[in-house]
Protein backbone atom coordinates (compact mmCIF):
# COMPACT_ATOMS: atom_id res chain seq x y z
CA UNK A 1 0.00 0.00 0.00
CA UNK A 2 1.58 3.24 -0.93
CA UNK A 3 0.29 6.64 -0.02
CA UNK A 4 0.39 9.75 -2.10
CA UNK A 5 0.82 13.33 -1.14
CA UNK A 6 -2.87 14.05 -0.74
CA UNK A 7 -3.35 10.96 1.50
CA UNK A 8 -0.66 12.25 3.82
CA UNK A 9 -2.16 15.71 3.83
CA UNK A 10 -5.62 14.44 4.68
CA UNK A 11 -4.34 12.12 7.41
CA UNK A 12 -2.39 15.01 8.92
CA UNK A 13 -5.51 17.13 8.83
CA UNK A 14 -7.59 14.45 10.56
CA UNK A 15 -4.87 14.06 13.19
CA UNK A 16 -4.51 17.84 13.55
CA UNK A 17 -0.80 17.84 12.76
CA UNK A 18 0.66 20.69 10.79
CA UNK A 19 3.03 19.26 8.22
CA UNK A 20 5.14 21.63 6.16
CA UNK A 21 5.07 21.10 2.41
CA UNK A 22 8.74 20.24 2.52
CA UNK A 23 8.10 17.43 5.01
CA UNK A 24 5.37 15.75 2.98
CA UNK A 25 7.62 13.66 0.70
CA UNK A 26 9.53 12.16 3.64
CA UNK A 27 6.30 11.30 5.46
CA UNK A 28 4.84 9.88 2.27
CA UNK A 29 7.86 7.62 1.92
CA UNK A 30 8.17 6.39 5.52
CA UNK A 31 4.45 5.91 6.02
CA UNK A 32 4.28 3.94 2.76
CA UNK A 33 7.18 1.79 3.95
CA UNK A 34 5.39 1.08 7.21
CA UNK A 35 2.21 0.16 5.34
CA UNK A 36 4.22 -2.19 3.13
CA UNK A 37 5.47 -3.88 6.28
CA UNK A 38 2.02 -4.27 7.81
CA UNK A 39 0.42 -5.33 4.55
CA UNK A 40 1.97 -8.78 5.09
CA UNK A 41 -1.01 -9.55 7.24
CA UNK A 42 -3.39 -9.25 4.30
CA UNK A 43 -2.24 -12.68 3.14
CA UNK A 44 -3.67 -14.37 6.23
CA UNK A 45 -7.17 -15.75 6.04
CA UNK A 46 -9.01 -14.47 9.10
CA UNK A 47 -12.53 -15.38 8.07
CA UNK A 48 -14.65 -16.08 11.16
CA UNK A 49 -11.89 -15.02 13.55
CA UNK A 50 -13.32 -12.88 16.34
CA UNK A 51 -11.17 -9.76 16.81
CA UNK A 52 -9.37 -9.66 20.17
CA UNK A 53 -9.53 -6.27 21.86
CA UNK A 54 -8.53 -7.19 25.40
CA UNK A 55 -5.92 -9.93 25.72
CA UNK A 56 -7.75 -11.58 28.60
CA UNK A 57 -11.24 -11.25 27.08
CA UNK A 58 -12.21 -9.67 30.40
CA UNK A 59 -15.49 -7.84 31.01
CA UNK A 60 -16.26 -4.44 32.46
CA UNK A 61 -16.47 -3.91 36.20
CA UNK A 62 -19.04 -1.44 37.52
CA UNK A 63 -18.50 1.52 39.81
CA UNK A 64 -20.99 2.49 42.53
CA UNK A 65 -22.73 5.80 41.82
CA UNK A 66 -21.12 7.68 44.69
CA UNK A 67 -19.47 11.10 44.44
CA UNK A 68 -15.76 10.63 45.14
CA UNK A 69 -14.29 13.72 43.51
CA UNK A 70 -14.49 17.14 45.11
CA UNK A 71 -13.70 20.44 43.45
CA UNK A 72 -10.03 20.38 42.33
CA UNK A 73 -10.24 23.27 39.91
CA UNK A 74 -7.42 25.32 41.32
CA UNK A 75 -4.97 22.44 41.32
CA UNK A 76 -6.02 21.17 37.89
CA UNK A 77 -5.94 24.57 36.21
CA UNK A 78 -2.40 25.25 37.41
CA UNK A 79 -1.19 23.25 34.42
CA UNK A 80 -3.58 24.90 31.92
CA UNK A 81 -1.99 26.96 29.12
CA UNK A 82 -4.65 29.67 29.45
CA UNK A 83 -7.41 29.87 32.04
CA UNK A 84 -9.49 32.77 33.33
CA UNK A 85 -12.42 32.99 35.72
CA UNK A 86 -12.31 29.23 36.10
CA UNK A 87 -12.63 28.63 32.36
CA UNK A 88 -10.13 27.15 29.93
CA UNK A 89 -9.63 29.71 27.17
CA UNK A 90 -9.27 28.75 23.52
CA UNK A 91 -9.38 30.72 20.29
CA UNK A 92 -12.99 31.63 19.56
CA UNK A 93 -15.21 28.64 18.84
CA UNK A 94 -17.47 29.16 15.84
CA UNK A 95 -20.58 27.02 15.50
Amino acid sequence: MSLDRSDVESIAQLARLKIDDAEVPAYTQTLSNILDLVDKMQAVDTTDVEPLANPLDATQRLRADVVSEENQREQLQKVAPKAEQGLFLVPKVIE
Binding site: I19, L56, L76, V79
Partner: protein, 481 residues
Protein backbone atom coordinates in the same frame (compact mmCIF):
# COMPACT_ATOMS: atom_id res chain seq x y z
CA UNK B 1 26.94 0.96 49.08
CA UNK B 2 26.59 1.24 45.31
CA UNK B 3 26.37 -1.84 43.12
CA UNK B 4 24.44 -3.71 45.76
CA UNK B 5 21.22 -5.45 44.87
CA UNK B 6 17.93 -4.38 46.37
CA UNK B 7 17.98 -7.48 48.57
CA UNK B 8 21.46 -6.56 49.82
CA UNK B 9 20.51 -2.93 50.40
CA UNK B 10 17.44 -4.02 52.31
CA UNK B 11 19.70 -6.08 54.58
CA UNK B 12 22.10 -3.16 55.07
CA UNK B 13 19.25 -0.83 55.94
CA UNK B 14 17.76 -3.42 58.26
CA UNK B 15 21.02 -4.02 60.08
CA UNK B 16 21.76 -0.32 60.35
CA UNK B 17 24.91 -0.62 58.27
CA UNK B 18 23.75 2.57 56.54
CA UNK B 19 20.69 4.76 56.61
CA UNK B 20 18.39 5.49 53.72
CA UNK B 21 19.51 9.09 53.82
CA UNK B 22 23.18 8.06 53.44
CA UNK B 23 22.31 5.62 50.71
CA UNK B 24 20.13 8.11 48.85
CA UNK B 25 22.78 10.81 49.13
CA UNK B 26 25.34 8.40 47.74
CA UNK B 27 23.20 7.66 44.71
CA UNK B 28 22.32 11.32 44.16
CA UNK B 29 26.01 12.21 44.21
CA UNK B 30 26.75 9.44 41.77
CA UNK B 31 23.97 10.54 39.42
CA UNK B 32 25.21 14.13 39.54
CA UNK B 33 28.75 13.22 38.71
CA UNK B 34 28.12 10.41 36.22
CA UNK B 35 24.80 10.83 34.44
CA UNK B 36 26.02 13.46 32.02
CA UNK B 37 27.72 10.51 30.27
CA UNK B 38 24.51 8.47 29.95
CA UNK B 39 21.62 10.92 30.04
CA UNK B 40 19.54 8.29 31.79
CA UNK B 41 17.56 10.74 33.94
CA UNK B 42 15.22 13.49 32.75
CA UNK B 43 14.69 14.79 36.28
CA UNK B 44 16.62 14.09 39.43
CA UNK B 45 14.28 14.73 42.33
CA UNK B 46 16.87 15.42 44.98
CA UNK B 47 14.80 17.26 47.59
CA UNK B 48 11.91 14.90 47.20
CA UNK B 49 14.24 11.89 47.50
CA UNK B 50 15.98 13.18 50.62
CA UNK B 51 12.63 13.93 52.22
CA UNK B 52 11.43 10.41 51.43
CA UNK B 53 14.70 8.95 52.73
CA UNK B 54 14.36 10.89 55.96
CA UNK B 55 10.78 9.68 56.33
CA UNK B 56 11.94 6.12 55.65
CA UNK B 57 14.63 6.35 58.31
CA UNK B 58 12.11 7.73 60.75
CA UNK B 59 9.61 5.01 60.10
CA UNK B 60 12.34 2.40 60.45
CA UNK B 61 13.29 3.94 63.79
CA UNK B 62 9.64 3.67 64.76
CA UNK B 63 9.67 -0.01 63.82
CA UNK B 64 7.47 0.56 60.83
CA UNK B 65 9.02 -1.17 57.83
CA UNK B 66 8.34 -3.05 54.64
CA UNK B 67 11.01 -5.07 52.78
CA UNK B 68 11.67 -1.98 50.64
CA UNK B 69 11.66 0.78 53.26
CA UNK B 70 14.35 3.28 52.35
CA UNK B 71 15.42 1.58 49.11
CA UNK B 72 16.12 4.10 46.31
CA UNK B 73 14.44 3.50 43.00
CA UNK B 74 14.26 5.30 39.65
CA UNK B 75 10.95 5.74 37.85
CA UNK B 76 10.36 5.94 34.11
CA UNK B 77 9.09 9.43 33.32
CA UNK B 78 5.81 8.05 32.05
CA UNK B 79 4.29 7.65 35.53
CA UNK B 80 2.48 10.72 36.84
CA UNK B 81 4.03 11.96 40.05
CA UNK B 82 2.14 14.68 41.84
CA UNK B 83 3.78 18.08 41.76
CA UNK B 84 6.80 16.63 39.94
CA UNK B 85 7.51 17.11 36.27
CA UNK B 86 6.13 14.22 34.24
CA UNK B 87 7.32 14.70 30.67
CA UNK B 88 6.94 11.34 28.93
CA UNK B 89 10.06 12.39 27.04
CA UNK B 90 8.07 14.94 25.09
CA UNK B 91 8.20 18.66 24.53
CA UNK B 92 4.43 18.43 24.78
CA UNK B 93 4.74 17.81 28.53
CA UNK B 94 7.98 19.67 29.21
CA UNK B 95 6.05 22.04 31.47
CA UNK B 96 3.72 19.44 32.98
CA UNK B 97 3.71 18.82 36.70
CA UNK B 98 1.15 16.10 37.20
CA UNK B 99 -1.66 17.15 39.52
CA UNK B 100 -2.13 13.58 40.71
CA UNK B 101 -0.13 10.43 41.52
CA UNK B 102 -0.03 7.19 39.55
CA UNK B 103 -1.09 4.04 41.39
CA UNK B 104 2.32 2.44 40.85
CA UNK B 105 4.27 5.32 42.39
CA UNK B 106 1.68 5.65 45.13
CA UNK B 107 2.20 1.98 45.99
CA UNK B 108 5.98 2.40 45.89
CA UNK B 109 5.68 5.42 48.15
CA UNK B 110 3.51 3.42 50.51
CA UNK B 111 6.18 0.69 50.52
CA UNK B 112 8.68 3.28 51.70
CA UNK B 113 10.88 3.43 48.59
CA UNK B 114 12.77 6.58 47.70
CA UNK B 115 12.34 8.01 44.21
CA UNK B 116 15.70 9.22 42.91
CA UNK B 117 14.28 10.74 39.76
CA UNK B 118 12.44 10.21 36.51
CA UNK B 119 14.24 8.30 33.78
CA UNK B 120 14.53 8.95 30.09
CA UNK B 121 12.45 7.13 27.48
CA UNK B 122 11.49 7.21 23.85
CA UNK B 123 8.92 9.95 23.48
CA UNK B 124 5.58 8.59 24.74
CA UNK B 125 7.30 5.18 24.94
CA UNK B 126 7.28 4.90 21.17
CA UNK B 127 10.58 3.39 20.24
CA UNK B 128 13.10 0.63 20.78
CA UNK B 129 16.21 2.73 21.29
CA UNK B 130 15.55 5.62 23.69
CA UNK B 131 16.64 8.00 20.94
CA UNK B 132 13.36 9.79 20.29
CA UNK B 133 13.25 11.57 23.63
CA UNK B 134 12.91 15.36 23.57
CA UNK B 135 15.70 15.30 26.14
CA UNK B 136 18.17 13.58 23.84
CA UNK B 137 19.20 9.93 23.56
CA UNK B 138 20.26 7.82 26.50
CA UNK B 139 23.58 6.06 26.00
CA UNK B 140 24.31 2.44 26.67
CA UNK B 141 26.71 2.22 29.63
CA UNK B 142 28.42 -0.77 27.96
CA UNK B 143 29.35 1.32 24.93
CA UNK B 144 28.40 4.97 24.94
CA UNK B 145 27.97 5.18 21.18
CA UNK B 146 25.31 2.46 21.32
CA UNK B 147 21.62 2.66 22.14
CA UNK B 148 20.45 1.25 25.50
CA UNK B 149 17.26 -0.10 23.93
CA UNK B 150 13.86 1.31 24.54
CA UNK B 151 11.57 2.61 25.38
CA UNK B 152 12.57 2.16 29.04
CA UNK B 153 16.20 2.86 28.10
CA UNK B 154 16.79 5.40 30.85
CA UNK B 155 15.73 2.95 33.54
CA UNK B 156 17.91 0.17 32.11
CA UNK B 157 20.95 2.40 31.63
CA UNK B 158 20.65 3.88 35.12
CA UNK B 159 20.83 0.40 36.65
CA UNK B 160 23.67 -0.77 34.41
CA UNK B 161 25.61 2.39 35.21
CA UNK B 162 25.11 1.94 38.94
CA UNK B 163 23.01 5.10 39.26
CA UNK B 164 20.02 3.26 40.73
CA UNK B 165 19.68 -0.17 42.30
CA UNK B 166 16.31 -0.72 40.63
CA UNK B 167 13.89 1.08 38.38
CA UNK B 168 10.35 0.97 37.07
CA UNK B 169 9.66 0.59 33.37
CA UNK B 170 6.70 0.03 31.10
CA UNK B 171 6.39 -2.46 28.29
CA UNK B 172 4.01 -2.12 25.33
CA UNK B 173 5.93 -4.20 22.79
CA UNK B 174 9.16 -5.06 24.60
CA UNK B 175 10.01 -1.75 26.27
CA UNK B 176 11.13 -3.38 29.54
CA UNK B 177 12.63 -6.61 28.18
CA UNK B 178 14.63 -5.27 25.23
CA UNK B 179 16.49 -2.49 27.12
CA UNK B 180 17.05 -5.00 29.95
CA UNK B 181 18.67 -7.25 27.37
CA UNK B 182 20.72 -4.41 25.83
CA UNK B 183 21.97 -3.21 29.23
CA UNK B 184 22.53 -6.56 30.92
CA UNK B 185 19.88 -6.35 33.60
CA UNK B 186 16.71 -8.22 34.60
CA UNK B 187 13.35 -6.89 33.42
CA UNK B 188 9.88 -8.30 33.88
CA UNK B 189 6.68 -7.41 32.06
CA UNK B 190 3.80 -8.81 34.12
CA UNK B 191 0.53 -10.26 32.80
CA UNK B 192 -1.67 -7.52 31.34
CA UNK B 193 -3.81 -6.13 34.16
CA UNK B 194 -1.53 -7.24 36.99
CA UNK B 195 -0.11 -3.75 37.52
CA UNK B 196 -2.44 -0.75 37.49
CA UNK B 197 -2.24 1.62 34.53
CA UNK B 198 -3.78 4.52 36.47
CA UNK B 199 -1.49 7.49 36.06
CA UNK B 200 0.75 5.70 33.56
CA UNK B 201 0.56 7.82 30.42
CA UNK B 202 -1.05 5.61 27.81
CA UNK B 203 0.61 4.56 24.58
CA UNK B 204 -1.23 1.39 23.53
CA UNK B 205 -3.82 0.91 26.26
CA UNK B 206 -4.54 -2.75 25.58
CA UNK B 207 -0.80 -3.58 25.55
CA UNK B 208 0.82 -1.29 28.15
CA UNK B 209 2.02 -2.82 31.37
CA UNK B 210 4.36 -1.51 34.05
CA UNK B 211 7.01 -3.73 35.61
CA UNK B 212 10.27 -3.90 37.55
CA UNK B 213 13.78 -3.48 36.07
CA UNK B 214 16.46 -4.73 38.44
CA UNK B 215 19.84 -6.38 38.78
CA UNK B 216 18.43 -9.75 39.76
CA UNK B 217 15.27 -11.80 39.55
CA UNK B 218 15.07 -11.76 43.32
CA UNK B 219 15.01 -7.95 43.25
CA UNK B 220 12.35 -8.02 40.56
CA UNK B 221 10.22 -10.19 42.85
CA UNK B 222 10.68 -7.74 45.73
CA UNK B 223 9.75 -4.73 43.58
CA UNK B 224 6.83 -6.47 41.86
CA UNK B 225 5.43 -7.32 45.28
CA UNK B 226 5.14 -3.60 45.92
CA UNK B 227 3.74 -2.71 42.46
CA UNK B 228 1.19 -5.38 41.65
CA UNK B 229 -2.43 -5.53 42.65
CA UNK B 230 -5.98 -4.70 41.83
CA UNK B 231 -6.89 -1.06 41.33
CA UNK B 232 -10.53 0.00 41.20
CA UNK B 233 -9.51 3.05 39.15
CA UNK B 234 -8.39 0.91 36.20
CA UNK B 235 -11.15 -1.04 34.46
CA UNK B 236 -8.57 -3.37 32.93
CA UNK B 237 -6.95 -4.13 36.29
CA UNK B 238 -7.33 -7.75 37.41
CA UNK B 239 -9.25 -8.44 40.57
CA UNK B 240 -7.13 -11.45 41.39
CA UNK B 241 -5.06 -12.20 44.44
CA UNK B 242 -1.39 -11.28 44.21
CA UNK B 243 1.00 -13.95 45.52
CA UNK B 244 4.25 -13.20 47.32
CA UNK B 245 6.57 -13.28 44.34
CA UNK B 246 9.58 -14.14 46.48
CA UNK B 247 7.94 -17.28 47.86
CA UNK B 248 8.90 -19.62 45.02
CA UNK B 249 12.31 -18.22 44.09
CA UNK B 250 14.19 -21.13 45.58
CA UNK B 251 12.12 -23.95 44.18
CA UNK B 252 14.10 -26.43 42.07
CA UNK B 253 13.47 -26.45 38.32
CA UNK B 254 13.30 -30.23 38.11
CA UNK B 255 10.77 -31.31 35.53
CA UNK B 256 10.21 -27.81 34.19
CA UNK B 257 9.03 -28.08 30.58
CA UNK B 258 10.65 -25.47 28.33
CA UNK B 259 9.40 -24.79 24.83
CA UNK B 260 11.75 -23.20 22.33
CA UNK B 261 9.89 -21.83 19.32
CA UNK B 262 11.66 -22.63 16.09
CA UNK B 263 10.43 -19.32 14.71
CA UNK B 264 12.59 -17.54 17.32
CA UNK B 265 15.68 -19.08 15.76
CA UNK B 266 15.10 -18.33 12.13
CA UNK B 267 16.39 -15.85 9.61
CA UNK B 268 17.29 -12.43 10.95
CA UNK B 269 18.73 -13.59 14.26
CA UNK B 270 22.34 -12.74 15.02
CA UNK B 271 24.05 -16.14 15.13
CA UNK B 272 26.08 -15.33 18.23
CA UNK B 273 22.91 -14.33 20.04
CA UNK B 274 21.40 -17.62 18.88
CA UNK B 275 24.33 -19.57 20.30
CA UNK B 276 24.44 -17.59 23.54
CA UNK B 277 20.77 -18.00 24.32
CA UNK B 278 20.85 -21.68 23.34
CA UNK B 279 23.66 -22.37 25.73
CA UNK B 280 21.77 -20.52 28.48
CA UNK B 281 18.78 -22.78 27.83
CA UNK B 282 21.15 -25.77 28.08
CA UNK B 283 22.29 -24.42 31.44
CA UNK B 284 18.69 -24.41 32.64
CA UNK B 285 18.25 -27.90 31.23
CA UNK B 286 21.13 -28.94 33.49
CA UNK B 287 19.09 -27.66 36.44
CA UNK B 288 16.54 -30.36 35.71
CA UNK B 289 14.37 -28.83 33.00
CA UNK B 290 13.20 -30.59 29.86
CA UNK B 291 13.52 -28.74 26.56
CA UNK B 292 11.43 -29.28 23.45
CA UNK B 293 11.05 -27.44 20.21
CA UNK B 294 7.65 -25.86 19.66
CA UNK B 295 6.11 -23.68 16.99
CA UNK B 296 4.58 -20.24 17.25
CA UNK B 297 3.69 -19.99 13.57
CA UNK B 298 2.41 -16.41 13.60
CA UNK B 299 5.53 -14.92 15.20
CA UNK B 300 6.33 -12.86 12.13
CA UNK B 301 2.77 -11.57 11.92
CA UNK B 302 3.11 -10.00 15.33
CA UNK B 303 4.98 -7.13 13.66
CA UNK B 304 2.15 -6.00 11.38
CA UNK B 305 -0.48 -6.72 14.03
CA UNK B 306 1.37 -4.70 16.65
CA UNK B 307 2.31 -1.85 14.33
CA UNK B 308 -1.36 -1.35 13.56
CA UNK B 309 -2.93 -1.89 16.98
CA UNK B 310 -0.44 0.13 19.03
CA UNK B 311 -0.42 3.18 16.70
CA UNK B 312 -4.21 3.02 16.35
CA UNK B 313 -4.70 3.15 20.09
CA UNK B 314 -1.94 5.73 20.42
CA UNK B 315 -3.42 7.96 17.75
CA UNK B 316 -6.54 8.49 19.83
CA UNK B 317 -4.84 8.31 23.25
CA UNK B 318 -2.75 11.27 22.14
CA UNK B 319 -5.68 13.38 20.93
CA UNK B 320 -5.99 14.86 24.42
CA UNK B 321 -2.71 16.68 23.83
CA UNK B 322 -4.45 19.58 22.15
CA UNK B 323 -3.18 22.62 24.01
CA UNK B 324 -6.43 23.22 25.91
CA UNK B 325 -6.14 21.79 29.43
CA UNK B 326 -2.42 21.14 30.00
CA UNK B 327 0.91 20.86 28.26
CA UNK B 328 2.34 22.78 25.35
CA UNK B 329 0.34 25.36 23.37
CA UNK B 330 1.74 27.15 20.36
CA UNK B 331 2.28 30.91 20.47
CA UNK B 332 -0.51 33.21 19.32
CA UNK B 333 -2.86 30.82 17.52
CA UNK B 334 -4.97 32.62 14.92
CA UNK B 335 -7.87 30.23 15.33
CA UNK B 336 -8.80 26.88 16.79
CA UNK B 337 -7.50 24.79 13.90
CA UNK B 338 -4.23 26.66 13.94
CA UNK B 339 -3.92 26.06 17.68
CA UNK B 340 -4.47 22.34 17.30
CA UNK B 341 -2.22 21.74 14.34
CA UNK B 342 0.69 23.90 15.43
CA UNK B 343 0.53 22.83 19.08
CA UNK B 344 0.67 19.20 18.06
CA UNK B 345 3.26 19.69 15.34
CA UNK B 346 5.54 21.52 17.76
CA UNK B 347 4.87 19.32 20.78
CA UNK B 348 5.33 15.90 19.21
CA UNK B 349 8.51 14.48 17.70
CA UNK B 350 8.79 12.69 14.36
CA UNK B 351 8.24 9.10 15.49
CA UNK B 352 5.18 10.07 17.55
CA UNK B 353 3.75 11.90 14.55
CA UNK B 354 4.42 8.90 12.31
CA UNK B 355 2.61 6.56 14.68
CA UNK B 356 -0.30 8.96 15.12
CA UNK B 357 -0.63 9.15 11.34
CA UNK B 358 -0.40 5.39 10.80
CA UNK B 359 -2.96 4.86 13.55
CA UNK B 360 -5.26 7.53 12.16
CA UNK B 361 -5.06 5.93 8.75
CA UNK B 362 -5.69 2.42 10.08
CA UNK B 363 -8.88 3.54 11.80
CA UNK B 364 -10.20 5.73 9.02
CA UNK B 365 -13.27 4.98 6.98
CA UNK B 366 -12.62 2.41 4.31
CA UNK B 367 -9.44 1.08 5.92
CA UNK B 368 -10.67 -0.03 9.33
CA UNK B 369 -11.50 -3.58 8.27
CA UNK B 370 -8.33 -4.10 6.27
CA UNK B 371 -6.07 -2.79 9.01
CA UNK B 372 -7.45 -2.44 12.50
CA UNK B 373 -9.96 -5.26 12.45
CA UNK B 374 -7.56 -7.52 10.61
CA UNK B 375 -4.84 -6.82 13.17
CA UNK B 376 -7.20 -7.62 16.05
CA UNK B 377 -8.09 -10.90 14.33
CA UNK B 378 -4.41 -11.76 13.98
CA UNK B 379 -4.03 -10.87 17.60
CA UNK B 380 -6.47 -13.61 18.51
CA UNK B 381 -4.63 -16.11 16.32
CA UNK B 382 -1.35 -15.13 17.97
CA UNK B 383 -2.86 -15.57 21.41
CA UNK B 384 -4.35 -18.93 20.38
CA UNK B 385 -0.87 -20.13 19.35
CA UNK B 386 0.40 -19.37 22.83
CA UNK B 387 -2.57 -20.95 24.54
CA UNK B 388 -1.93 -24.10 22.52
CA UNK B 389 1.78 -24.04 23.28
CA UNK B 390 1.16 -23.75 27.00
CA UNK B 391 -0.82 -26.97 26.91
CA UNK B 392 2.52 -28.71 26.32
CA UNK B 393 5.11 -26.57 28.06
CA UNK B 394 5.41 -24.47 31.23
CA UNK B 395 7.52 -21.67 29.79
CA UNK B 396 8.80 -20.52 26.43
CA UNK B 397 12.38 -19.36 25.94
CA UNK B 398 14.42 -17.66 23.28
CA UNK B 399 16.31 -14.48 22.58
CA UNK B 400 14.84 -11.17 23.75
CA UNK B 401 16.10 -9.32 20.67
CA UNK B 402 17.53 -10.46 17.33
CA UNK B 403 20.43 -7.99 17.26
CA UNK B 404 22.99 -6.40 19.52
CA UNK B 405 22.54 -2.73 20.46
CA UNK B 406 23.09 -0.60 17.39
CA UNK B 407 24.91 2.67 17.03
CA UNK B 408 22.94 5.74 18.02
CA UNK B 409 21.46 7.34 14.91
CA UNK B 410 21.91 4.27 12.70
CA UNK B 411 18.20 3.62 12.26
CA UNK B 412 17.02 7.18 12.67
CA UNK B 413 15.54 7.51 9.20
CA UNK B 414 14.43 3.95 8.84
CA UNK B 415 11.63 3.22 11.29
CA UNK B 416 10.82 -0.08 9.58
CA UNK B 417 14.24 -1.56 10.34
CA UNK B 418 13.77 -0.56 13.97
CA UNK B 419 10.29 -2.16 14.09
CA UNK B 420 11.80 -5.46 12.92
CA UNK B 421 14.01 -5.50 16.02
CA UNK B 422 10.89 -6.09 18.16
CA UNK B 423 10.06 -9.43 16.58
CA UNK B 424 10.41 -11.61 19.70
CA UNK B 425 8.77 -9.33 22.21
CA UNK B 426 5.64 -8.00 20.48
CA UNK B 427 3.58 -11.18 20.54
CA UNK B 428 3.85 -11.37 24.33
CA UNK B 429 2.06 -8.02 24.65
CA UNK B 430 -0.48 -8.90 21.99
CA UNK B 431 -1.34 -12.02 23.98
CA UNK B 432 -1.10 -10.21 27.35
CA UNK B 433 1.33 -12.77 28.77
CA UNK B 434 4.13 -12.18 31.31
CA UNK B 435 7.64 -12.05 29.90
CA UNK B 436 11.08 -11.56 31.36
CA UNK B 437 14.55 -10.87 30.08
CA UNK B 438 17.59 -11.97 32.05
CA UNK B 439 21.26 -11.49 31.15
CA UNK B 440 22.64 -14.75 29.74
CA UNK B 441 25.96 -13.97 28.07
CA UNK B 442 28.09 -11.47 26.19
CA UNK B 443 28.66 -11.02 22.48
CA UNK B 444 31.22 -8.53 21.21
CA UNK B 445 31.41 -6.99 24.65
CA UNK B 446 27.67 -6.35 24.77
CA UNK B 447 25.18 -8.13 27.01
CA UNK B 448 22.62 -10.55 25.60
CA UNK B 449 19.26 -11.30 27.18
CA UNK B 450 17.32 -14.53 27.41
CA UNK B 451 13.59 -14.06 27.16
CA UNK B 452 11.39 -16.25 29.31
CA UNK B 453 7.67 -16.14 28.51
CA UNK B 454 5.16 -17.54 30.97
CA UNK B 455 1.53 -18.49 30.96
CA UNK B 456 -1.01 -16.00 32.34
CA UNK B 457 -0.25 -15.03 35.97
CA UNK B 458 2.88 -17.17 36.08
CA UNK B 459 5.21 -14.33 37.11
CA UNK B 460 6.30 -16.41 40.11
CA UNK B 461 7.55 -19.17 37.83
CA UNK B 462 9.48 -16.73 35.63
CA UNK B 463 11.13 -15.19 38.67
CA UNK B 464 11.88 -18.65 40.05
CA UNK B 465 13.63 -19.59 36.78
CA UNK B 466 15.51 -16.27 36.72
CA UNK B 467 16.67 -16.72 40.30
CA UNK B 468 17.78 -20.32 39.79
CA UNK B 469 19.67 -19.34 36.64
CA UNK B 470 21.31 -16.48 38.50
CA UNK B 471 22.32 -18.82 41.32
CA UNK B 472 24.09 -21.01 38.75
CA UNK B 473 25.64 -18.25 36.59
CA UNK B 474 27.14 -14.80 37.07
CA UNK B 475 26.06 -12.93 33.92
CA UNK B 476 23.76 -10.74 36.03
CA UNK B 477 26.72 -9.52 38.08
CA UNK B 478 28.65 -8.21 35.07
CA UNK B 479 28.89 -4.43 34.88
CA UNK B 480 30.41 -2.15 32.28
CA UNK B 481 33.99 -1.11 33.02
Amino acid sequence: MLNKTVAELAKGLESGEFSSTELTQEYLTQIKSEDSKYNSFISVTEDHALAQAKAADESRAAGNTTPLTGVPIAVKDIFCTQGIKTSCGSKMLDNFEAPYESTVTEKLNAAGTVMLGKTNLDEFAMGSSCESSYYGPTKNPWALEKVPGGSSGGSAAAIAAGLAPAAIGTDTGGSIRQPASFCGITGLKPTYGRVSRWGMIAYGSSLDQGGPMTQTAEDAALVLNAMAGFDSKDSTSLDKEVPDYTAKLSEPLKGLRIGVPKEFYSEGLNSDIAATTQSAIKEIEKLGAVVKEISLPRTELSIPAYYIIAPAEASTNLSRFDGVKFGHRCEDPVDLYDMYTRTRAEGFGDEVKRRIMIGTYALSAGYYDAYYRKAQQLRRLIKDDYVKAFEEVDVIMGPTAPSLPWTIGAKENDPVSMYLEDIYTLSVNLAGLPGMSIPCGMVDGMPVGLQVIGNYFDESLLLNIGHQFQQATDWHTKRPA
